[in-house]
Symmetry: C2
Subunit: 750 residues, 2 copies
């Protein structure tokens, strides 16, 4: 009986037309029904109650300090910036507490602070810091102003009915309406983009629109500004284009059409996807609550759900995002943006029980209907593990602009993972890192992607903004584990050129028991040169841990210098080749990031294979590379031309080939054994791979072999031009014939 009643109420809430429904508050994220459900369930649901108690504690502490609404002055990390940020975070929470407890002091606090903002706002010019392409008023950029409004709309929504009509009039007339106008018609270059910045602008304008029932703002948010007067070459202060070349409009629906690939991949990468997901999800929830007839969670084949699952898959085994493009390391699915996304998609997206296991790790839920439902699911023990599998995701609105491949092997608690990037440029936050990869072992980076050169919200470092070294180092090709030709970055480091192109997925196959493999090509990073990288993870009892095979082919009609760096983390244990170290350190080059690398060692080898062993996180690693006597083996360390110590002191091992046309780099990366520092015991710390050989490498085929010390010989054959799974291939090597079906084949012989 109760169940039937509940379903009926849910029906009423969900399917009543928006116009009739929008008379009551709260209506955005919290709803009247949500509040009443939370009240009656709070004590029964530990996670919900804990989240609520933590919220009360935090807000009470802040309220005890009194209200501060300073005149804006500082950059990110500075006092006024952090104060206004704290204000909106706290007021949104105070609103929720007011709704659930009914305690007036929270409503009073919200009103009083908002009133101070209503007094301050009309007096404000643009923020004094001038470096943004879209300067805000409370903050140095509109982006942060939009953050403010996304949160404050929720606070306002919670006290709307409690406020006197004349108070609402003051707030809306002096604060919210001009605020929303400033973010939209006042800054079209900020509002009308397809970009994470404008997802915030759109959500801010739309959410305050819903609260005020302002149809003009709502339409603006959903469908954009009609005439924005934006020049097609206009760029933001991070170097990103304001408008995409083919951009057909603006507003929330266009964002959902263009921001994500059909697989839910966001072209700027997971760090920014997380950032964009908060306003996207909150606004979607608001739309669902206020305009259910738009069926926003079903839009574009459930793109909102897909984007969450994509970003969850773009994490290492500890839940940290792969630091693709401009990304600060340390960010993970524990962030508040992902708490919202997980709860909202759980509730509106079919109650997938694997999301509950993520929510459990987050140990926090939204204080709304969606968080309630997650807390209920967990209290009822309905969670299932979220198992990340090997996966390829396409990039581009139509899924035709390259992609990302992730291969995972081993148990989730001891996972080996490689990520290879063959996407489009990734807008202004993209790096020149075609066909780059990174490698993780047991939740730790082993061969790293640098991430961004930035300390977000740390005032001491350029006000928390991007550092100059983000352009001169972090974005450059040599900062990545990929090929650099003639010491020049991909697309000569030119964003506009890079933005026109993408790499090409060649094949991706993760169905094999012994081998998972991905292959991609790029023909645009260097005009006239084709790059083709194939990476495989091979599992077999013959070696304890999975092996990584890396085959990087280059085709060029001219002679070039080729550098393939590996940014290994940890300490060099030894090498089996001779090298010398300089008595004076000089930069490795002049430009494109080379000016930031000290050359710390240089060697050559007469052997066919060279090995570098290193040690990291109590494990040993070996990279075995096929070399010719002319190849240079370089060691480099980051930190040259870094006057403010903005860069980490990371190191690199670079295989350099000089004056070659077509070339091939073949390496095998092993995880060997373990060191126990308490017992001081090292086990299986040596490489077991021998005799890596390139048997064949031409336009059509590549064949390599390698042996293990136990005597097994492995052979990997790749077709370089044909990915059809039914094609028969046959090659003749040293008088012996080999044949197989499909784009690749791995064989082993005792």
């Amino acid at each position: 009986m109760d169940r039937v009643k509940l379903v009926f109420i849910v029906f009423l809430i969900c399917f009543l037309p928006g116009s009739g429904f929008t008379q009551s508050h709260p209506r955005l994220v919290l709803t009247e029904k949500g509040v009443s459900d939370i009240k009656s369930n709070l004590k029964k649901l530990p996670l919900l109650n804990q989240s609520f108690q933590e919220t009360i504690q935090e807000v009470d502490l802040e309220m005890a300090n009194g209200i501060e609404v300073p005149v804006p002055k500082d950059m990110a990390g500075g006092y006024t910036h952090e104060r206004h940020k704290k204000n909106y975070l706290i007021l949104q929470k105070a609103g929720v507490i007011y709704q659930i407890t009914g305690e007036q002091k929270y409503a009073v606090f919200i009103r009083d602070m908002l009133m101070q903002y209503a007094k301050l706002y009309p007096t404000l010019p643009q923020h004094p810091e001038k470096r943004s392409y879209a300067r805000g008023k409370l903050f140095w950029q509109c982006l942060n102003d939009a953050n403010w409004l996304v949160y404050m709309s929720q606070a306002y929504d919670c006290v709307y009915d409690w406020l006197k009509p004349e108070e609402r009039k003051v707030l809306e007339h002096d604060l919210f309406r001009p605020y929303a106008d400033f973010l939209s018609v006042g800054n079209p270059q900020f509002f009308n983009r397809i970009h994470n910045h404008s997802t915030w602008g759109i959500a801010a304008v739309g959410m305050i629109g819903f609260v005020m029932n302002d149809k003009v703002l709502i339409e603006r948010a959903l469908y954009g500004l009609k005439d924005d007067g934006i020049n097609k070459d206009q760029k933001d202060n991070d170097g990103g284009l304001i408008k995409l070349p083919e951009q057909p409009g603006a507003g929330f629906f266009i964002q959902l059409d263009y921001l994500f690939s059909p697989d839910g991949y966001y072209t700027e990468g997971p760090y920014y996807q997380r950032y964009a997901l908060y306003p996207v999800m909150l606004f979607a929830e608001s739309i669902e609550n206020c305009r259910p007839e738009l069926k926003i969670f079903e839009y574009r084949n459930h793109i909102l759900s897909k984007s969450l699952f994509a970003v969850l898959n773009l994490t290492d085994s500890e839940g940290l995002f792969f630091p693709i493009n401009d990304s600060q390391k340390g960010m993970s699915y524990l962030s508040r943006e992902l708490v919202s996304a997980v709860d909202i998609i759980y509730f509106f997206g079919g109650k997938d029980p694997t999301l509950l296991s993520i929510a459990k790790k987050q140990n926090l839920v939204l204080l709304d209907n969606t968080g309630l439902s997650v807390a209920k699911g967990l209290a009822e023990g309905r969670e299932k593990p979220f198992i990340k599998k090997s996966i390829e995701m396409t990039d581009g609105a139509n899924g035709d602009q390259g992609g990302v491949g992730i291969i995972r092997a081993g148990d989730p608690t001891d996972e080996l993972c490689i990520v290879m990037k063959y996407t489009a440029q990734g807008m202004g936050h993209g790096h020149f890192d075609k066909l780059s990869f990174s490698m993780y072992d047991k939740g730790k980076e082993v061969i790293q992607d640098y991430g961004s050169a930035r300390f977000v919200n740390i005032d001491q470092k350029n006000g928390g903004a991007y550092l100059p070294e983000n352009n001169t180092w972090a974005k450059q090709s040599v900062a990545h584990n990929t090929l650099v030709v003639n010491e020049t970055s991909h697309f000569k480091g030119d964003f506009e050129t890079g933005n026109k192109y993408h790499s090409y997925p060649y094949f991706f196959n993760a169905t094999g028991k012994d081998i998972q493999i991905m292959s991609a090509k790029d023909t645009n990073a260097y005009p006239g040169i084709t790059l083709h990288r194939t990476m495989a993870v091979i599992e077999d009892k013959a070696f304890g841990k999975p092996l990584v095979v890396d085959i990087f082919r280059v085709q060029s009609e001219k002679e070039n210098q080729y550098d393939l760096p590996y940014y290994f983390l940890g300490q060099v244990m030894n090498t089996d080749f001779e090298y010398s170290v300089p008595t004076t350190l000089l930069p490795l080059g002049k430009d494109f990031g080379y000016q930031h690398l000290w050359k710390t060692g240089e060697g050559k080898s007469g052997n066919k294979n060279v090995k570098l062993d290193w040690f990291s996180n109590e494990r040993f690693y070996t990279i075995t590379t096929v070399v010719s006597p002319d190849d240079q083996l370089l060691f480099a360390e980051l930190g040259a031309k870094d006057p403010l110590f903005n860069l980490r002191r990371d190191q690199s091992y670079i295989i350099r080939k000089n004056k070659e046309k077509d070339a091939i780099f073949v390496s095998i990366i092993e995880t060997n054994g373990h060191y126990d520092p308490v017992n001081e015991i090292s086990a299986n710390s040596f490489s077991t791979i021998t005799d890596v050989e390139i048997l064949l490498n031409n336009e059509q085929y590549t064949s390599i072999t390698f042996d293990t010390k136990t005597g097994t010989k492995w052979m990997l054959n790749i077709s370089n031009t044909d990915v059809y799974k039914d094609t028969n291939h046959q090659v003749e090597i040293a008088g012996k014939s080999y044949s197989w079906v499909g784009p690749f084949e791995l064989t082993k012989n005792k």
Copy 2:
């Protein structure tokens, strides 16, 4: 009734004279009574049972692989070394399992392996690796051979009664007796030392002596070799003297007299103390079981207990040993040596319930009476927290050779800790680091001690032995957070000179609520120069976290260059002084460790104070230093002249004073705020200390002041010549008179 019976049995076991008692086996570590107690309690005591089950699993796995007793060949980390090491570790465990389960297969395994050793041993020359001062047979050094016998004695003890007399005869005649002779009369330079090496040798000879009831070996172990023919200048391969200048004899009792200070401090430092404790404790347990009349645990005012408590206090809040002298980082009280020591001292030393909390973290107990009693204590919930307080420990057999001071502040879960070293040299493993310190915050190193340049048991790195850079870098003064005069190490880096002297404790006071303070002097590191360092930790609401005050005074009649390095860990955030970074890196100097440092930056300041901010482990730190315009502020990075990448790439901030006679360095180190990488919020990330001033510094007194931004002024007065707590001091500064009682005083004024 049962209780009475038990007491009677215990009485019988403990007080029967050794000679009568030594007829039964096992008798060393396990005893008949112990075995029967373990059998009857195993199922009831989770930790004991778990330890036992883990042991069975490990041994069964190894037994399945069969017996391997290879001809010795490799260095540490190599196959034969690791194999023989594994053999003794496993056989000792197999012995225990045999005793407890009675399953013959374990006894058979032990017999068969020992028989193979009995066959091999007589054929063995010295180990082919020649670098040790005391080459072993199974291993490259006698030390490891002694390790083998300490463990194998226990295995033999467990199967002694089960073996046939003729089997015992073979084992004793061909293996154990010659083995024990080789370690003692065969290598007096190894056996007759006061050194961690010979604790192993003594325990090995004594323990096999007890098992075989060989009175000659027992006497040898307890009282040493009479005539050893050791030259007084003879040294080991690590540069340590074989005999102490005043060494009155040898053997176990002399070890106990000389190894530890009256506080239980071991002069080589906690890393080696841990290592020495295993044979010391096991042999003591054997003595207690076989010769209870010696009352070994009461010897020298319970020195064995004291040495355990000392080493437990020499750990950071995570239980890792302070890496004083030659120490590999990562070693902690979770090591097997400390498991033994904690269990043995718990059982024989009065059942201190705080030891149970350590045992709980170790999550492992010995499979003997002592482990049984720990498991029982834990099962009965009798543990109390082991709270580490600020403490000073003296060095030297008589406690008159300097010491170590440890100041801890804050909650144990968020502890600030500084360790200052003013000990004697610490034998061959000592560093030239008079008055050096290191700083920890929340269980992490903030200003580090480098530790040793060694990768213990990692074959790739010099066979696991000390690296050349241990001498050229890790031992040198500039590798430490202490003063270096004229780019020359203390005692010119000469071990023999250093070994003659020690620093002087001046005062140590940790009873104050607002200030804990320690002060020490050295007059020998540089002839004619007095070094005097005072370090204080100040706690007050005015600053969130405790502050560290560092006052380093130098007195010299000649002009010198003074360098005071701080090895801060983390990334430079900013400085408030100008500095330049070079375009080419050159070494900072030529010798005494300077040749390993690249000079990465250099600055000066016209201000009276300079600040360096850095970031580490999600926290911000600031060091504010009083400088004159001539002082140089240097940045350096480790890694020069390091052809095999043996050194970590650590960094240093060096305050350099040129051409000064008397000088004083004053710095305040703050822990500021927190950065949350998931929420990207930085809180209180800036220094709050201003206007650090030296008001007075002369032979008699030093007075400094500093302010906090909130307007409080602090003054710290120190008497430089008088430590009596009742002395009245009065100083005149700028016409104002200040007076206080005792060696120091801290005051604050609003």
